[in-house]
Assembly symmetry: C2
Homo-oligomer: 122 residues x 2
DNA sequence: GCAAGTCGATTACATTTGTAATCAATGAGG
DNA sequence: CCTCATTGATTACAAATGTAATCGACTTGC
């Protein structure tokens, strides 16, 4: 399963999670404003993601349409867990506590999260 | 400031955050149960951390005592922020929402976070 | 039909990272 | 004194990563 996805690869995944399937060109285009990667670079990343089993490619005429195989939610869970394990001994509340302290959540943020939690308890 | 600290380096930092200053030997000893690194490996990691400005070393006789320069809290903040930015558009509530959906939150987590938020509002 | 463009595939190459062997200096035991 | 152990420094080297040039195959406009 899922070998590790690097930062650059992740940027490519985000594009495809937002909109898929896409050709290599479209992906490169989407990335143009955030990164300044050449087309070959983007294609390399696509190939690596394909090799890692994170993407599937289906031929459309003479080119490929790429689409994510792994779900964003799974990736996000995995990464979140990794961080929480590494830095907070696997406990979530310290993460929230830490971010909250750092960051002066707006009243609105707080309400939002409270609402979420209330929902959960029911 | 702080160049990026790799995973292996982070393990070394954790040891020194828990107890410092320590000699290279002591660090290696502390790591012995979690990792199986040779002493040279640990020393390489210490050198790299020194080069990155994450540690300071003070000579004690013919060896060095290493101590963290960057605070754990700063590192943790940095990494947490990085994750939240990368995966949740910088907003905390989607993180909580995500974890909630995954049912990764224990009842205890929920209570703790609620308490935290209540605290914040006052 | 053929030149020029378009694609994916292959190859490249520097840097970072993980992991460690080896070297050189120094200090300690005999 | 001299040998040996200890310790930091230097060097090594494969794998992963970031970034890209180049190649070869296939279209497509003339």
């Amino acid at each position: 399963m899922a070998e590790r996805i690097s930062d650059a690869e992740h940027a490519v995944m985000e594009v495809l999670w937002a909109d898929a399937p896409l050709t290599a060109n479209s992906v490169a285009e989407m990335l143009a404003d955030s990164q300044s990667w050449s087309l070959p670079t983007v294609k390399t990343l696509l190939s690596r993601l394909l090799a890692k089993g994170a993407l599937a490619a289906e031929a459309e005429g003479r080119r490929f349409l790429y689409r994510p195989i792994i779900a964003r939610a799974d990736y996000v869970s995995h990464e979140s867990r990794r961080l929480v394990d590494r830095l907070f001994g696997g406990k979530l509340s310290p993460l929230v506590a830490h971010l909250a302290e750092q960051e002066a959540l707006t009243a609105e943020d707080i309400s939002e999260i409270e609402a979420l939690l209330k929902e959960l308890k029911s």
